[in-house]
């Protein structure tokens, strides 16, 4: 693909829309857990708030400031995860990560399929996964979603991995 096509694929209209009008933005008074993600490359921070009922995501929100890719990814993640079980959330992250790094995992991604264009911009994979890493530290410690980080993800491996291979965490 040419550069303009790559760029159009990266900044799809749904991504720009979620960047301009992020959904589920703000704190969650009833949150049962929260986690922060930090991208040392650009200083972006995102905090994800989560309320679980049993094994399900009852409510989820986020706040923070970041680039269009990280903001839209956080926004769409909250949209997709509401009502899903934690196991489904983990599986979705795996397929989402595969989409970003190998182009696979395309089925059942819902609106997250809009991020397929990130694959052509390996330096931006970390932007797209920032909120998901924050989510993994918001989840109960007993069941963190596995990070299926692949080899085609240089930016994400530019820093030492934590216990769950997540970016540096900061208590919000």
């Amino acid at each position: 693909m040419s550069a303009p096509d790559d760029l159009r694929a990266l900044y799809q209209e749904t991504i720009l829309d979620h960047n301009r009008r992020p959904r589920n933005f703000g704190t969650l008074a009833s949150a049962s857990g929260q986690g922060a993600g930090y991208n040392p490359l650009c200083g972006d921070r995102v905090v994800v708030y989560l309320r679980t009922e049993g094994d399900r995501v009852a409510d989820i929100s986020f706040e923070g400031a970041g680039c269009a890719i990280s903001t839209a990814s956080a926004s769409m993640m909250t949209e997709e995860l509401k009502g899903k079980t934690l196991a489904e959330a983990r599986a979705l992250f795996e397929r989402f990560h595969a989409l970003l790094t190998t182009g696979g995992g395309g089925e059942d991604l819902g609106m997250l399929a809009a991020f397929a264009g990130v694959r052509e911009f390996p330096m931006r994979v970390k932007c797209a996964t920032l909120a998901w890493h924050a989510l993994s530290s918001a989840l109960p410690a007993a069941a963190p979603p596995a990070d299926p980080a692949g080899p085609a993800d240089p930016a994400e491996h530019a820093e030492p991995a934590g216990p769950a291979d997540t970016p540096t965490r900061h208590s919000p």
């Binding site: 550069a3 650009c42 200083g43 972006d44 269009a68």
Partner: protein
């Protein structure tokens, strides 16, 4: 999303006679010295505007490194064979070149290190504890790169000393008054950047050094962003230590320089121990070599020193004053075009054309509604390489009220057309992000 080409905001050529290289500055010939400039990125000609991060290398440097490896390479200071002698001579000749370039009184004051970061760490670790004790003070400034802040934080924490931060004025400048206001009887070290890596502002190092040394404080200067743009004379600057990196001045990475006053280097203990920095070693006791070797433990970057000397010779032959004059034109054009981009805010407002030069060829900005990483990605698809992020200066970025900014920085080989490509790319950002 439209794919129509975006017109440059300035399609007419600049007025005749204005903003062209001064006579004798042959830009095409300068560019021909840099093989990498022929690279195409995303099908576009490369416009490399990330020079403050690292500069590209002229053929003179490539040739010097290859020649070192091809005809004069061995380890140095250890063997007596012919290649060892040639390699040692080449490296010591490089030390002479650096000493001349900096106006250092003595070649023994030139310590080869990996870069500016290592140089400042060396001073903080070796000189720091000799001067800084409990209740003493170290002064640095609000615009420092992390490498000229974090080593002093640790020194102060370990010694029970206080780190004081000189504030900037409203235009993003370090002033003599701000430092003077913090200088006191317990000030032991003043550490500051000669040129800000984010704002490009030039600090009044000579005035601050004179003031600080009169009060008994030692002055450490981070010259990483100054050496490629300003003629440096450490004797007239009057500081005690001056550090810079080879890769930011057209030389190889992995080589840098710490200049220190001979009498200070002489009193400093070694900071790394091993081969090359000793006189005699027994199982119980070791005596150390005099400076500069005392601070050069282990096999050094031999070809790095040779390449650095080639870079400094090349730049000197081109003429730093002429390069600086051309870079001022690039900066002026960039400033003018950037201010025409809707919603763009420049960080720091020191003028490029003030009577007394206040700013080197660096310009940072934020764009309303467009994050720096998105800006840099979109510019990259236009062939324009810029830096996006916090620029290893997070405290400064916080002071400026922004987590991330985009930075364009210029070198001897940049063209006005590349500046135009930057501006056109920023209008394209507006189009893509809506």
């Amino acid at each position: 999303m439209s794919t129509a080409p975006i017109a440059s905001p300035r399609t007419e050529p600049p007025p005749a006679g204005a903003r062209r290289p001064a006579p004798g500055y042959d830009l095409a010939r300068v560019r021909a010295e840099f093989p990498i400039l022929a690279t195409r990125v995303h099908g576009r000609p490369l416009a490399y505007l990330d020079n403050a991060a690292s500069m590209q290398k002229p053929r003179a440097v490539l040739d010097a490194v290859i020649d070192c490896w091809s005809s004069s390479y061995s380890n140095v200071g250890r063997s007596v064979h012919t290649l060892a002698r040639r390699a040692a001579e080449a490296r010591e000749a490089a030390r002479d070149t650096v000493a001349r370039f900096l106006g250092a009184p003595s070649r023994g004051e030139i310590v080869f290190v990996r870069g500016t970061t290592e140089a400042i760490n060396l001073v903080a670790a070796s000189f720091g504890p000799r001067r800084v004790g409990s209740g003493d003070e170290v002064i640095t400034t609000a615009l420092e790169h992390h490498s000229n802040l974090v080593p002093w934080q640790r020194l102060c924490a370990e010694r029970g000393a206080r780190l004081r931060i000189a504030p900037l004025d409203e235009r993003g400048r370090v002033t003599v008054e701000a430092v003077a206001g913090l200088l006191g009887p317990r000030t032991r070290i003043v550490a500051l950047a000669h040129v800000s890596n984010v704002l490009g502002t030039i600090s009044p190092v000579a005035e601050i050094a004179a003031l600080a040394r009169r009060r008994g404080a030692a002055v450490v200067v981070d010259g990483a962003q100054a050496v490629p743009h300003l003629a440096i004379d450490v004797a007239s600057l009057g500081c005690d230590f001056y550090a810079f990196s080879g890769h930011k001045v057209y030389g190889p990475s992995g080589i840098g320089v710490l200049w220190g006053r001979a009498e200070l280097l002489a009193e400093m203990p070694p900071w790394q121990l091993g081969g090359g920095m000793v006189e005699s070693v027994g199982y119980e006791e070791t005596t150390f070599a005099p400076p500069p070797e005392r601070f050069e433990a282990g096999t050094p970057a031999i070809e790095g020193a040779v390449g650095l000397a080639a870079a400094l010779d090349w730049l000197s032959a081109l003429g730093l004053q002429r390069v600086a004059a051309w870079e001022r034109e690039l900066l002026a054009r960039a400033t003018e075009l950037l201010l025409e981009v809707p919603g763009l805010r420049l960080l720091g407002s020191a003028g490029a054309h003030a009577e007394r030069a206040e700013k080197a060829a660096v310009v940072s900005f934020v764009l309303d509604g467009a994050h720096a990483h998105d800006v840099a990605t979109i510019l990259d698809t236009e062939g324009v390489a810029v830096r996006a992020g916090h620029h290893c200066a997070q405290p400064l970025m916080a002071w400026l009220g922004s987590a991330a900014a985009t930075r364009a920085s210029f070198a001897c080989y940049n063209t006005l057309e590349e500046v135009d490509a930057l501006a056109a790319g920023l209008h394209r950002v507006r189009e893509v992000l809506g």
